[in-house]
Subunit: 451 residues, 2 copies
Amino acid sequence: MNYYEQHHDSYLEGLKTFLRIPSISTLSEHKPDIQRAADFVRRELEKAGLEQAQLIEGAGNPLVYAEWLGAPGKPTVLFYGHYDVQPPDPLDEWKSPPFEPDIRDNNIYARGSADDKGQTYILIKAVEGLLKQHGRLPINVKFLIEGEEEVGGEHIEAYVASKPARLKADAAVICDTEMFAPELPTICVGLRGIIYGELVVEGANHDLHSGVYGGAAPNPLMAIAEILTALKDREGHIKIPGFYDRVVPPSAKERAAWARLPFDEREYRENEVGVKELVGEPEIPLFERLWARPTLEVHGIRGGFIGEGAKTVIPARGVAKLSMRLVADQNPDEAVAQLQKAVAAACPKGVTAVYKTIHNAPPSLVNPDNRFIHAAAEAMKQVFGKETVYIRSGGSIPIVAAFDKYLGIPSVMMGFGLPDDNLHAPNEKLHLPNFFRGIEAVARYIEILGA
Amino acid sequence: MNYYEQHHDSYLEGLKTFLRIPSISTLSEHKPDIQRAADFVRRELEKAGLEQAQLIEGAGNPLVYAEWLGAPGKPTVLFYGHYDVQPPDPLDEWKSPPFEPDIRDNNIYARGSADDKGQTYILIKAVEGLLKQHGRLPINVKFLIEGEEEVGGEHIEAYVASKPARLKADAAVICDTEMFAPELPTICVGLRGIIYGELVVEGANHDLHSGVYGGAAPNPLMAIAEILTALKDREGHIKIPGFYDRVVPPSAKERAAWARLPFDEREYRENEVGVKELVGEPEIPLFERLWARPTLEVHGIRGGFIGEGAKTVIPARGVAKLSMRLVADQNPDEAVAQLQKAVAAACPKGVTAVYKTIHNAPPSLVNPDNRFIHAAAEAMKQVFGKETVYIRSGGSIPIVAAFDKYLGIPSVMMGFGLPDDNLHAPNEKLHLPNFFRGIEAVARYIEILGA
């Protein structure tokens, strides 16, 4: 048993403690939990033997910083993770409570287990292991762990923009993505961006009786339906003028690599997604739809009556939560402007409709040809025993674009989640073998870089 | 001061007591309040001097019955009202709490003030006044007050169907409608029917991350938007095949009478409805759209995330509360079948969509040429000092069709609400002069019928 194998029990106990904190950044009533999670991360970094472990307080949730800079002349890596999590609802679909970690079939179930507390913890424990064994690291490291990733991460972006000297590094390592398949080491080289906001539709100045006024009064919920269907057709094509103009298709080489990935579409459809039929632009292959095409999704519609039984109301107001995923070279500001124009054009008679931004993040596409990504591929190959594959992700990690823009450094996205980890959904989990091997792979990565 | 004028204070106190009971039939946690409201009505009927005052318990909320049959050879009138109310939400839009009656500007504000506790109380106090003054009534009366009008009134319908002998009468009087304009005595001769239910759309078998799966996973909320827009176009035309086939247009005489009603469309649009523009089938005049054309409305959409901030979820399931108002000679069963077929035809790829009925009621159209309606018109004219007008209502009062079908009697809809009473909406009110004069008008009606 190597050093890491000897510490599995304590890693698991520490992770459970972290997962028990309901640090939901979307809900303001969880502010104290955000603080507890930040404090937990700071203490863990300190215990690991890192220096300068501290909370960076500012406009939003605290950032957690720590460093070890005892290897002059060696590269510096900036490790990134986040301690905040998505809301757990719908609660009644969880098999065990979301903030009481439960181990079943070699998986740990809890909100944040994969996204991203488990993976953040991997980074900390990898560095801790090297420091405890050797009293030093073969490279320099900085940690910057945030608490607002699930709400757009604006404050970390402002901080990164304002402190390029303090955060100076040669590369960033982001541990917040997944492996393409179990035990298949994977590096992610592309992320979609996102614009997320609310479509606010207002009709009459008060709720109305649908018997007395139905036939004359505008219905904001129906107007939302009309606007949504004007923005996207039944086949998944977005009907916003100019919206696809900047979309860069994947290269022939990348498409060919994707086609070689080990993949069973039926298994994916039936067991991972759980649908009878996959949808989306029929002329575009699946991975390209997921990784290299923009989307428009509605996440919830507020307004009117959704309780038990019947209420015959025409609501005065309806609000739809909307997002659009963006791909290179789209940019959020332009996409918002195009969406707002299209909403105005699609707005039916009798109501007003306005799209209001909640948060945005640009897409990013990393050139994999650098020593930091090569070392990551090699480290993962050594620990997992298989050739590392390169994929993209359909999700959005806003910090990648910020590291590129403000620090001028590439991001290495080595992640240890799995496709069926139920991110943002009930019964989120992390596969424990990935958790333990992830710690070893990150440690191996540091060793390779420092060799 | 006549007898009724002398009792204004006690009428108001009694009404306030009635309005303080939150007898919301849609919400099962209010069952105890339903019982309290039924008991209140029973005691009031007994105090009024009626006989056999009793609760009729059955499958649903109790019916309240009472009678006075001491005028052999004279007509028998069956008085109907309801003691249940709509939910008060959205609560934050009420200027005073919905179950703490508040008098402002000669109006009493509370949920149920107009619909229908205030009007039910009018019936009771009218009869009480005659009995207290004369020890008898000039006609026979029966009261049947229900507690499920706002949830479809199925139990009263079953009871009426099963007890035609007990409820035998020459006409029903329903006090649950409104005057066309302040101090303009009005009789309602037509009601729309309704089908109300839930459109249940299911996609994946669990909630999904919109980044990871957006572009391949079906979105049930988007599917609801697609189905709704397939069912009704932007101009308000319902696109369900065969749906308009049975619609009987109003007669030329009725249309001409409607055109003579005192009406300021701008005032209606700006102050009553509170919109910049009225909508609905552009080729159909306003009153016909409201009273003689069917509708399709969505009342609320459940599913996904509607909290504060952002959650990037593609929900597994969405549910839309839908209703369609029906007009003569449409029938609910046929309309449901047509709607279900249209929903199936409009259902997009990747999801299932099913419409499930919550409750139905047929439309009704009353021939105004009978002594019971003539007497009502005369009584209201005497009390209010103006010629009575005949209108229809866009709302639905399911019991009217049941009285016709099972008892073979016409319904007289004399109501004392006003168009701006905010039925089913925040700040529901009843105009107090209408409340007091309504009691006198119903008493006068009984005297005219008994003369």
